[in-house]
């Protein structure tokens, strides 16, 4: 063997020697080894290494690769990677988004009972009633109670005891879901109390929901306006004969006016889960045990109802601050938890990472099951009734929702397939409300999953009447890309999850060409393009929906390297530069080779020199 060949062979062995020297399994571990181990513990175990772990690491023969493998299988690893994407997508909803659809809001009024003691009566504002005096309002009149109810304010007038006859005529006593775990039973007996903390951790109604007005007597049943207790799934369209217009002088209450749809469809059945049913039928209520409604503690708009954690940096199971939260927080909180659980499931089970955009699966607990089954449809269908759209086509097929109690906050069930419109995070309420507009939805996907952003060109903006932003000077630089992406969300209503099905909402509607187009045209169709809003940039994208966007994004050549970049930047604690190109290439290749498994990517990253030697650790004093 020539000398040159020997040298070449030696050179080939060099990386192995280097790796051997760098492997901290020898007895004389140095500071770099310990710091590497500490970094691994911080990133993969979610905490600094314990003394026992440091001692174990110090021993000769410590199996660091085995330690890494074990921790790549644990919840702390999943949480670490989840944090990368939660920081990017910020999937929690703040108080600025008030989710208070009237059909689900069970308000509470305090009146004086026949025995001259205060009693609570629950009702929905806007509830349709046959009695013209109370239609759309509280079920007891001023003549009954002496009170004049105000919207979002305390009642005026002088309270007087309501007669038993009026009370019996207008109200019913119910054992509601928020007080009884067996509320659907014939004689509910499992009332909120001792033991519920273990069975349903995290489920805590505020004290005002658990006691009578005296603040002492435990509430065992609630008094509710009669119409609200109805359980029918469908109700008939009710025409009251009321014409639109301001109330006549001196008239305090005017019942809701009949819409064009009501006039032409009186007697027809509409879904009681939808807002439409609530608005136009006197037969729609809150369902058995009031399961379609959320309770509140006053007639105000967003009063406290449940105690919820305000800070959960280590997860909802470890609250750092608990306090009574407005009723709208209940839904918002669980939407955020759905995203957390969904991401954890993808990372912990090492599923194909692309599923976070494309997957139809999700995880739900009791409050989310209740939300998807009864609450979500309550935002539908608005002016869609003019198109006969009164039974919402859901993003989450209700037949696939597991039978969980609304109180059951602790049981999380994986639903493998939400239905044909579902597409990972993109069709979850937390995403659709966090990013209310179609453009916002497209933008965050573009930046988080393709690592691109929109940067406006440097030019003077001129006044323009051009409605097409893809060609309007000054706008086109960004919108030529953004508009076609936003078009994927054409069929999901903004700040909402209502699906606009093609059979009801064709891309262009002939009735919208009329001189005085009906109301739905203004809300759903863009008058400039005579097409569904956002569809003009790409009708094809509009028809493919969010699932189409997910397919296209995960198939984009930038996707694997963007995932590698986002994760590496988070783990290395810095932006990647061109000096990291080789690392980025390797990570992306590993990611693709492993069929888009995050665990493979993180394994390669934490074993890389870039991670091992991350940051310039100068000697500390």
């Amino acid at each position: 063997m020539s000398r040159v060949k020997r040298l070449v062979r030696l050179a080939r062995l060099l990386p192995a020697f280097v790796a051997l020297a760098a492997t901290p399994s020898r007895a004389d571990k140095d500071l770099t080894d310990y710091r590497y181990f500490r970094a691994l513990a911080i990133d993969l175990a979610g905490r600094m290494p314990s003394r026992a772990e440091v001692d174990a690491f110090a021993k000769p023969g410590f199996d660091l690769d085995g330690w890494i493998e074990t921790h790549l299988d644990g919840p702390a690893y999943a949480e670490r990677v989840r944090r990368v994407y939660m920081d990017l997508l910020r999937l929690e909803i703040g108080p600025s988004f008030q989710f208070l659809p009237p059909p689900i809001m069970l308000r509470r009024e305090t009146i004086v009972g026949p025995d001259k003691k205060d009693i609570y009566v629950y009702y929905r504002r806007g509830q349709r009633r046959r009695d013209a005096n109370t239609d759309g309002e509280f079920c007891l009149t001023e003549a009954d109670t002496g009170l004049v109810l105000q919207k979002n304010g305390p009642p005026t007038g002088t309270a007087k005891p309501v007669s038993q006859a009026a009370l019996d005529r207008s109200t019913v006593v119910v054992k509601p879901w928020w007080l009884y775990a067996d509320a659907s039973a014939e004689a509910p007996a499992d009332r909120y109390g001792d033991g519920w903390g273990q069975r349903f951790p995290g489920y805590m109604p505020v004290p005002a929901l658990l006691t009578e007005p005296d603040g002492k007597t435990a509430t065992t049943e609630v008094r509710v306006c009669r119409e609200e207790t109805q359980t029918a799934e469908y109700g008939m369209v009710f025409a009251s004969g009321q014409k639109p217009g301001p109330p006549p002088p001196g008239v305090k209450h005017v019942r809701p006016a009949d819409s064009g749809f009501v006039k032409s469809h009186a007697g027809r059945l509409v879904s009681c889960l939808s807002s439409t049913g609530f608005q136009i039928s006197v037969e729609c209520g809150c369902g058995p045990a009031l399961e379609r409604c959320l309770p509140s503690t006053s007639s105000q708009n967003d009063p406290p109802a449940f105690v919820l954690p305000t800070h959960t940096p280590l997860g909802a199971d470890l609250p750092f601050e608990l306090g009574p939260q407005p009723i709208s927080s209940w839904s918002r909180f669980w939407w955020g938890q759905e995203a957390v659980r969904f991401l954890d499931d993808v990372f912990l089970q090492d599923r194909d990472f692309r599923e976070i955009l494309t997957g139809r699966a999700t995880l739900v607990n009791g409050p989310l099951a209740q939300f998807y089954r009864f609450i979500a449809p309550a935002t539908c269908c608005g002016p869609g009734q003019e198109l006969d759209y009164t039974s919402p086509e859901p993003l989450f097929d209700p037949s696939r929702i597991p039978p969980l109690l609304p109180e059951d906050t602790a049981t999380w069930v994986r639903v493998p397939d939400r239905g044909p419109h579902a597409s990972g995070l993109l069709t979850m309420p937390v995403f659709l409300t966090k990013y209310g507009s179609r453009r916002a939805r497209a933008h965050v996907v573009y930046s988080a999953f393709l690592c691109k952003d929109f940067v406006a060109e440097n030019l003077k903006l001129e006044p323009s009447t051009e409605p097409n932003l893809m060609v309007r000077p000054g706008c086109s630089t960004c919108h030529a890309t953004l508009e076609p992406m936003a078009a994927y969300f054409t069929r999901v209503a903004e700040s909402d999850w209502t699906w606009l099905p093609p059979a009801v909402y064709p891309l262009s509607h002939p009735r919208c060409d009329a001189k005085n187009p009906p109301g739905f045209c203004k809300t759903a169709y863009d008058p400039a393009f005579k097409e569904l809003r956002a569809a003009y940039a790409s009708p094809a994208h509009a028809e493919r929906g969010p699932a189409g966007l997910a397919e296209d994004v995960v198939a984009a050549p930038e996707f694997p390297s963007c995932v590698a970049r986002q994760v590496a930047q988070s783990f290395l604690g810095r932006q990647l530069t061109t000096d990291d190109d080789a690392l980025l290439r390797d990570l992306a290749a590993t990611f693709v080779r492993s069929s888009f498994r995050m665990r493979a990517l993180v394994r390669e990253l934490v074993k890389s020199d870039a991670y091992r030697l991350a940051n310039d650790w100068k000697r500390a004093p």
Partner: protein, 221 residues
């Protein structure tokens, strides 16, 4: 003179260059080089800091730690007062994660660290302490401490907080901490010493603990 300046400026002017890898530059293809980017140290994620903190408090739940840490003397306010200062994001209102330390954050680390150290002294050293195996921070027999025995005890604390043996620390660290310990013990033992909840040795160990929980190596990695 003006002409010279103008000429110099023109000479120095150049077209905009895109950043490229150093290996693509002539003469740099084969040079041995450390391509590891040199950046500021990473900050330990606040979630990790908090989880470690809870474990050092005996693995208690956050609200239990809040109650225990507050104890006598209100060493601890509420988590709500600290969480954002520690750099946690508030995703509800789009406040991003803080990735570099700042003065308020350092003060918060100090506040939390002092609460931890004092409660640990009370639990591990004062009165009738539990067996060494049940101590979370001062997992050694305190006893009388001279320079020689200090090293072993300090090593326990060093590994607890900084994750490696004190013997690997930059030279002189153990000696400096012993000086601190000795000085604090002496001050607390002095006749005119202000009243303290701790005995001199306990105060000495508390001071050593303060030094470690404030150390930059604790919150950076």
């Amino acid at each position: 003179m003006k002409a010279v300046v103008v000429l110099l400026l023109i000479g120095c002017a150049h077209d905009h260059l895109e950043p490229v890898s150093v290996t693509t530059l002539a003469g740099h293809e084969t040079l041995a080089q450390d391509t590891t980017p040199k950046e500021r140290r990473r900050m330990v994620p606040p979630e990790v800091y908090i989880r470690t903190y809870l474990e050092l408090f005996g693995g208690l739940a956050p609200l239990a730690v809040q109650q225990k840490a507050r104890g006598k003397g209100n060493l601890f306010d509420t988590w709500d007062d600290y969480l954002s200062a520690l750099g946690l994001p508030d995703l509800r209102v789009d406040i991003p994660r803080t990735t570099q330390t700042n003065a308020i954050m350092i003060a918060t680390f100090e506040r939390l660290g002092v609460a931890l150290c004092d409660r640990a002294v009370e639990h591990d050293l004062a009165g009738r302490p539990p067996p060494v195996s049940e101590r979370t921070v001062f997992a050694f027999d305190a006893g009388a401490t001279d320079e020689e025995s200090f090293a072993g005890k300090f090593d326990v604390l060093h590994r607890t907080f900084l994750g490696y043996p004190a013997g690997l620390a930059p030279s002189g660290r153990t000696a400096r901490f012993f000086d601190l310990f000795r000085d604090v013990v002496a001050r607390h033992a002095a006749k005119d010493a202000p009243k303290s909840a701790f005995k001199p040795e306990e105060a000495g160990w508390a001071a050593v603990c303060y030094g470690l929980v404030r150390h930059p190596e604790l919150v950076l990695y």
